[in-house]
Every structure is written in C-alpha cells, then in structure tokens.
C-alpha cells in the first residue's frame, strides 16, 4: 500500500486547471444527469430554430418556384430594338423585309418577327364602311410580320394566320383578337367578314384565342407589316421592334447576335436585348406574411432561451453542493462558470441541431406535397445550430455568473 502524502516544500504549486476535454465531459455529464429535463429544455430552442428554418426555406422555395416560371419566359425571349429609326428624323423601319428569315437562321431561334403599333389620331377600326358607332372603343392596331405571330405564340380560335404569301403581296387581311371580334360584331368567318381600318377594308381571316408573349394581339387587330407600310408608312412615334422566341438559355446570345445577322451592313441600327430581369419580382415575394411567421419563430426562440436560463439556474441552485465540492477540489470560479455556460450552450446547440433538421424535413414535406423544387440556402442550415448555441450561451450567462460567485463554504453546507 504505497500511497504516501505529498509532503512538499514551498515550491510553486501548479495552477489548477480545467482541460477542454474535461470541460466537455463534465458539461455533458451534467446534462445527462437529468436527461428528461434537458430534453424538455431543448424543446423551446428546437421549436424556435425549426420554425425559423422551415419558414425561410419555404419562402425561398416558393419564390424560387415563381422565379422558375418567369425564367422559362426569360430564358426563351429576346428583343431587337430599332435604335437607328429612333435617332433618325425620318420615320423608318430598319428591319429588312426578310428580317424574319434572317433572324431564324441564328442558332437557337425558334421564331422571330417584327411588329409595331399603328397609331391613329382617332379610333380607326370599324365594322362598317360608313363610319363609327358612338359607343365604339378604340381598338389597337398592330403591324406584324408573319414570323411575329409564331414568335408571340398566338393560338387561333378559328381561321388562319396571315403568312408570307399575304406579307409579300401586302394584302388587306387581318387577324383580330377575340374581344375585338366581339366589339366589331364578327362572330363567324363564314362569308369572309370585313372590317375597316382608317377607311380601308380588311378581310378577317383569323380570330385569336390567346397570345402568350404579346397580349395586345389578343385584344386588337393585327395586319401584315407590309400592308401597314404601304397604307400608313413607317411608324413615327414608336419604333418597330423584333420579338424573338429562342430555345431555353439562348436568349442572351441570340440578342447579341441578332443585329449583325439582320443588318450585317449596319448592325449599329439595331440593338438586341434579352427579356428584362425578374429578380426584383422574386425579392418582393417574401414580405408581410413571412415577417409575421418569423416574428413567431423569434418569440419561440426567446421562450426557448428563457427555458434554458431557468433550467440552468435551477441546476445551479440544485447542484450547490457539487459546486462547493468542485471548488474544494480546486476549481476556480471561472471553471465553475464555464462549465455551466458550456452546459447551456450545448443545450442550445443540440436544440438548434434538432430544430434545423426538423425544419429541413418540414420543407421537404411541403415541397413534396406541392411538387416544388426544394430550395434552401445551405448557409442557413449551418447558421441555425450556431444560432441555437448562441441563444444557449446568452441564456447561460446569468446562471453561470451566479454559480461562479457562489461561496464554496456556503455551497458545501447546502
């Protein structure tokens, strides 16, 4: 039995210490002493972090979903603007007559066409040769190349679209929107109904059911561009432009190449552009409703923090004897404080981890149900447990301070 006393001289006593690993073990042991209570304490932080992650994730997924729909149009749509005519003092159309065919030769182009609104000083469209009914509304007139009808995605209710045949002969034919057909009294194409634009008769050859990219074709009257040029000349106030339907993702490159392909002699007259960005639209989505839910998640998090603070404080008071013992065994006040701080931080961290996992599962559930694509910033998944740990750390500050300030002699007596 050799276990002698350390009879030592007045040499320096090594400082008492608490290794990182020991700290972790002691804190974990402290939490596992009362697993049920620790689990219940986790709950608050878990709910707060979990709902936070779920709300942010669902908001991101939803706005990503909206963005996705816009992106299909955005990625397949390009414009070419007639900047030459805008700068010129004479009215002109800088697109050549075969612009549609030239544009369609660009790789990635599905359909392309030139259009411009034809402006009249007064309402010009009428169902009668003699003039206008008093109640008649002004119906917009659009001049369009045949390719435009394809590029705009026009679907007909009845009849046919005008084609290159009508365009090259500059014939007086018109395709009218369904609401224009109603107000002009055109119900059937049997008998080749006629309408009058600025006094000129036009044969209605088709009625539009829908126009995906240019909704104005659905409500107005569309005539061949060459006919409009022949009758009313080049547009004056508004310039012609080309709408190009491209394959997905090609819009930007097509927009760059189109001016050169259409006007190789003077590309500077034209300016290509992809469809305007809809990023602002996406940003606008997560607004008032989300902020309400985020407030609720914040409240849950605060309740969780109070729960941790309360549990840790109770643990400090309950374990006064243990604190006194540890002090007697050489623990410094900071060793006691940091142990309780570690316990509360670990509670917050575990709560955050479980909460983040549940939040991600919630997002997955919602997106599966809605057939959406789940979107979540991975930074949030990393930040959520850290936020939980921070909540635990803050909640543990006061109890840890109380523990570290406990007088060992008093603590041992309890």
């Amino acid at each position: 039995m050799g276990f002698p006393m350390g009879r030592r001289g007045p040499g320096a006593v090594p400082p008492s210490r608490l290794r990182f690993r020991d700290l972790g073990n002691e804190a974990l042991a402290g939490l596992l002493q009362r697993p049920g209570r620790s689990a219940l304490t986790l709950l608050g932080v878990m709910l707060g972090i979990g709902s936070f992650v779920a709300i942010v994730g669902i908001a991101q997924t939803a706005s990503g979903q909206i963005g996705k729909q816009f992106n299909v149009l955005q990625a397949t749509q390009a414009y070419v603007f007639d900047v030459g005519a805008a700068q010129s003092s004479h009215p002109a159309v800088d697109f050549p007559p075969n612009a549609d065919a030239l544009a369609e030769r660009i790789h990635g182009v599905v359909a392309a066409g030139v259009y411009w609104p034809v402006l009249f000083k007064q309402a010009a469209v009428s169902g009668f040769a003699g003039g206008f009914l008093a109640s008649q509304h002004a119906i917009p007139v659009t001049a369009a190349s045949p390719g435009l009808l394809a590029a705009a995605g026009v679907k007909l209710r009845t009849g046919t679209l005008f084609s290159q045949f009508h365009e090259t002969r500059a014939q007086n034919v018109a395709v009218i929107g369904s609401s224009a057909a109603a107000s002009l009294g055109v119900t059937s194409l049997q008998g080749q109904p006629a309408i009058f634009i600025d006094g000129q008769p036009f044969t209605v050859i088709g009625i539009v059911a829908s126009s995906q990219r240019l909704p104005q074709l659905d409500v107005g009257v569309t005539v061949p561009a060459s006919t409009a040029l022949r009758l009313w000349g080049a547009p004056t106030q508004v310039q012609a432009q080309m709408l190009i339907h491209t394959r997905i993702g090609a819009a930007k490159i097509v927009a760059e190449q189109a001016p050169v392909a259409i006007r190789p002699d003077n590309p500077a007259l034209l300016k290509g552009a992809a469809a305007p960005s809809v990023a602002q639209l996406q940003r606008g989505v997560s607004t008032s409703l989300n902020s309400l839910f985020l407030t609720l998640a914040g409240i849950a998090l605060i309740v969780g923090a109070v729960g941790i603070a309360n549990t840790t404080l109770v643990a400090v008071l309950e374990r006064a004897g243990e604190i006194g013992l540890r002090r007697a065994l050489g623990a410094r006040p900071r060793h006691i404080g940091v142990q309780f701080l570690t316990e509360s931080t670990a509670l917050g961290l575990f709560g955050g981890l479980i909460g983040a996992s549940l939040g991600v599962l919630t997002i997955l559930g919602v997106t599966l149900y809605r057939h959406w694509t789940a979107l979540l910033d991975p930074r949030i998944v990393v930040a959520a447990p850290l936020a939980g740990a921070t909540v635990g750390l803050l909640a543990g500050l006061y109890p840890a301070l109380r523990a570290s300030l406990m007088e060992p002699a008093d603590a041992l007596r309890r």
Partner: protein
C-alpha cells in the same frame, strides 16, 4: 516518514528533508463575519500543524469549528492574520493560487460525503483529478490505487447508491487522497455513520496516518477525537489544546508508531472541560497564543 508508508521514489525524494515540517501555520488568524452586527467567529489564533501529525479539533455547534475548517481549507480568507500551507502564504493570495493549493495540497472529507450520485466510485475519485495538474492517462491508475488504499478497489464501478455509508465515506477519502495532498482534512467524517462503521473508519484513518498522512479531523465524536495525537478544543472562537507533548517535540519530527497497530490514544478529554495543558505564548510551542 518511516515504516510501510512511502513508496521508494517518494522516500528518496523526502530523504533529505527534516521530518515534521509545518504543513499549516496560522499566525494570529481571525475571522469576523461582517455584520451588522459583526460576529467574531474565530478570535486571533496561532496554530501550527506539522507533517505526519494526527490532530483532532472538537467543539460544540457554533463554537467556530466550521469557520476554522473553512480557513484551514482555504474556503474562506481570514479577516486578519495570515495562514501558510507548505510555507506558502495563502491567506491573502488571489483565488487562483488558493484554488491551486486546494487542488494539490489539501484533501477534503465531508460529513455528507458529497459524492456525485450519477457517477461510479472511481469516477467520483477521478473528479478530484480534473482540476489538478497531471496527465489524463495516469488518472485511472491513480484513482484505482487510491481506492485500493481505502480497501474499495473491488467496488470501483459501483454507484454510490449501491454502497453503504462507510463505503461511501471511504470513496470520499480515496478522492481526497488521489492528488497526494499535504493534508487530509476531515469535517465530521463519521457524522453520518453508525458506531460500528465509525470504528472501521477510525481504523482506516489511523492506518492512513501510520502510512504518513497528515490528518486534521474535526469531530463531535469523543471516540474519534480520542485517537488523535493532538486534541484541540474550540469554544466561542478560542482554541485550547490538549496534547501529548511527549509525542510532539516543538521542533516537530513526530514519528508515528509504524506498523504497531493503533497508537496509544491520549486521554480523551470530553468537550467543554477545562483545558489540561493550555499553551499560551509563542507559536514555537506550537500552541495558540490568542493575542
């Protein structure tokens, strides 16, 4: 330090030292609870405890016993005077240094054991090693050796709830010994034990003393106190010593009888009796000038 106590390496280390150096030296130390009204729990006291001694402190409740224990155990600071442990002045030292001395030089045994209920015997012993300097990998062996010293190595993995009161106190003693302190300080070590277990524990303490442990026992129990070489009574914050001076020459060098069973107990003075040998004057009589 003779007999069966020291391990060879320790013996070699201690060989050049004079035996019986002071472990604790109180010099005019006093403790007054700041009021209102202020209470002088311990009047100015001087006391020296030498290495290898077995000292008992007795006194009724409210006599200042706990105050003295808290001062000697560095759980409280004296409001005046000084306290040295192993020659280190710790009375006014910062908490950092006092904690270091508690970790390495003092072993505590409490009346209520203070074992952590969710940890096995050996885990409770190893708790004392958390705050002390020393490699982690040697902890288990040292804790097992301390348990063996109190005869409980076979219950190393038992939970405290599965141990008897006497066994629990032996685990607590092993915990107090595991860092090889200069002093084993026992506060009512038998207060929660029945008389048979108390006798067992006295036997263990005496064995430890024979092996070289410096023992300071604070107790109500006259049987426990009677086994000590020096007995100090405390009453109203004043110390009175009943000692067998023949066993403890002023220069120290107590040679506890080694391997010869229980040392002859001094006549146990019942508490509250007039002091038999009240030592007044300088501390080099290792008495207590209450100046």
């Amino acid at each position: 330090m003779t007999g069966s106590g020291p391990a060879p390496d320790r013996e070699a280390r201690d060989a050049g030292r004079p035996p019986g150096e002071p472990v604790i030296r109180l010099t005019s130390a006093a403790f007054t609870y700041r009021g209102p009204p202020p209470v002088a729990a311990l009047k100015p006291t001087s006391l020296v405890i030498y290495s290898g001694e077995h000292v008992a402190i007795t006194g009724p409740s409210g006599s200042g016993k706990s105050t003295l224990l808290n001062l000697l155990g560095l759980l409280d600071k004296p409001t005046q005077g000084s306290i040295e442990i192993d020659g280190i002045d710790v009375g006014a030292a910062p908490e950092r240094e006092r904690a270091a001395v508690r970790a390495h030089r003092i072993g505590f045994v409490f009346q209520s054991f203070h074992l952590l209920p969710y940890r096995t015997s050996i885990e409770n012993v190893m708790l004392a090693q958390v705050y002390a300097d020393g490699p982690r990998r040697r902890r288990y062996a040292a804790a097992m050796s301390a348990l063996a010293q109190v005869g409980l190595d076979h219950r190393a993995h038992a939970m405290p709830t599965a141990l008897s009161g006497g066994e629990r106190q032996r685990v607590a003693i092993a915990r107090a010994l595991v860092n090889r302190p200069s002093l084993l300080m026992c506060d009512e070590p038998t207060g929660n034990l029945d008389s048979a277990t108390t006798l067992e524990l006295i036997g263990l303490l005496e064995t430890l003393h024979r092996e070289g442990t410096t023992l300071l026992v604070i107790t109500h129990n006259p049987v426990v106190a009677g086994r000590a070489q020096r007995q100090i009574a405390i009453r109203d914050g004043e110390l009175t010593e009943f000692s067998q001076d023949t066993m403890l020459p002023p220069t120290g060098a107590p040679a506890p009888p080694a391997g010869s069973g229980v040392p002859t107990p001094p006549p146990p003075p019942p508490e509250g009796r007039p002091p038999a040998g009240r030592a007044r004057g300088d501390e080099d009589t290792h008495g207590f000038p209450d100046g």
